[in-house]
């Protein structure tokens, strides 16, 4: 926390070395979230870059009494949602994404002769509403609490619980429909 404050203060002066250090410290966190949310490496890189630039632009607004990580995740999640909205407005983008995911799954099946649940999960996540997907990724991948997710998405904890519950239901339904079953 103290390190973050010092680093942020250096970044606020426009110190390039400090900004490089800041980016190196948090780029994996931001990029992995963007990759999970967007399911596309180049898009995730572009959005991650946007996240850091936006963050440097607004660093002065960060409340230094609060941890930096949730704030950073908020910016990243919002950027991802914006990118997803932008993508959904492009004609045929969802279909293309589904086709790519399907091809990847078939290739994976052919290779391993079994369903790759990781790929199925990616495919299923692509079907979810943006807020459901964001909730699911933040909770199950980033392991944030309901409260932290609520702060990031600017909604009450009850809403986060509801969204997460619906996301899980839809994912389970999708997986069952794809022939994925649990091994008891």
């Amino acid at each position: 926390m103290a390190d973050d404050v010092e680093l942020v203060q250096q970044c606020l002066t426009g110190d390039e070395l400090a900004m490089r250090a800041f980016t190196e410290r948090y780029q994996n966190l931001v990029f992995s979230l963007c990759l999970r949310m967007l399911g596309h490496r180049e898009d995730a890189e572009d959005v991650s870059q946007e996240v850091f630039v936006r963050l440097f632009r607004n660093l002065s607004k960060w409340d230094q009494e609060r941890p930096l990580r949730p704030w950073l995740m908020t910016i990243a999640a919002n950027r991802c949602r914006t990118a997803l909205e932008r993508r959904s407005k492009l004609p045929g983008q969802n279909e293309v994404a589904l086709e790519l995911a399907g091809e990847r799954r078939e290739h994976s099946q052919h290779r391993a002769q079994e369903v790759d649940i990781g790929d199925e999960m990616e495919l299923a996540l692509a079907q979810l509403r943006d807020e459901y997907r964001t909730c699911f990724v933040l909770y199950h991948q980033e392991e944030l609490s309901y409260q932290e997710i609520g702060e990031i998405l600017s909604c009450p904890q009850g809403t986060v619980k509801t969204w997460l519950h619906r996301a899980r239901l839809q994912l389970a339904e999708w997986l069952r429909g794809r022939g994925v079953v649990h091994c008891s």
Partner: protein, 242 residues
């Protein structure tokens, strides 16, 4: 365990990120179709999320160069800091250039306005001179030998005397011109205001000259009231001719 307790246990396990006691929950699920469905979903997702997280490729990305380049374009990197990108324009100079770009149109505009004002005021006497000088029915004759009031001038330095003489000359010239202008304006002031129902004191627009009125018309009473002080100052001893 009833259905509510079953549901509650699953919710707690999800929130606390722990695995439930399978034997207890399975026992209840076997006796309840709805809870069996919930339990199957839970087990399916438990496995799927585990594999999904395991399938996550290790992140191997280095965004620092592109982030710094983008931040530099946004003007967020100080020029004083170390620059690793050769030939990149520093932020202050970029801002300065932008500032200069925004100031130049203003400077040019102001210069053009000043130039226009100078041209207008420089040409103004010539424009007045172009006004057709029809013989007025009433005008003021002003001669150059206007008597100068006999005022005792105290002895002063020669420079001051020149200044006073210049000021007096300027005043005479101004008075002369003003009286001339007043008499010239007469040409454009027809006496139609009473016909149009306009205020006879102030309406003097030349646009209201009737088409068939080629000859100058006599000034109505009151129009020259504003110039009276000039006539009195310029011609204190001579009568006005009509």
């Amino acid at each position: 365990m009833n259905c509510n307790e079953f549901q509650s246990v699953l919710d707690c396990c999800l929130e606390e990120r722990r695995s439930p006691d399978h034997s207890v929950l399975s026992e209840h699920a076997a006796a309840c179709a709805d809870c069996q469905s919930l339990w199957d979903d839970w087990l399916l997702l438990e496995r799927a999320i585990g594999e999904w997280n395991d399938s996550r490729e290790p992140v191997d990305v280095d965004l620092t160069d592109r982030v710094i380049a983008a931040a530099r374009r946004e003007g967020l990197v100080s020029s004083k800091s170390v620059s690793s990108v050769a030939g990149t324009r520093s932020i202050p100079s970029k801002r300065g250039a932008s500032h200069q770009r925004s100031v130049w149109p203003l400077v040019v505009t102001v210069a053009l306005v000043l130039l226009a004002v100078l041209i207008v005021f420089r040409d103004r006497p010539e424009q007045v001179a172009d006004v057709p000088r029809d013989p007025p029915t009433r005008f003021v004759v002003i001669t150059d030998d206007v008597p100068i009031p006999n005022v005792a001038i105290p002895e002063v330095q020669p420079d001051l005397e020149h200044l006073i003489a210049d000021a007096r000359s300027a005043w005479e010239s101004l008075r002369h011109r003003a009286a001339e202008q007043a008499s010239d304006l007469r040409v454009f002031v027809p006496d139609i205001r009473s016909d149009m129902g306009l205020d006879t004191e102030y309406e003097t627009s030349p646009k209201e000259t009737p088409a068939d009125s080629d000859d100058p018309m006599p000034l109505p009473d009151g129009v020259n009231r504003a110039f009276d002080f000039l006539f009195e100052a310029a011609e204190p001893d001579e009568p006005q001719t009509t």
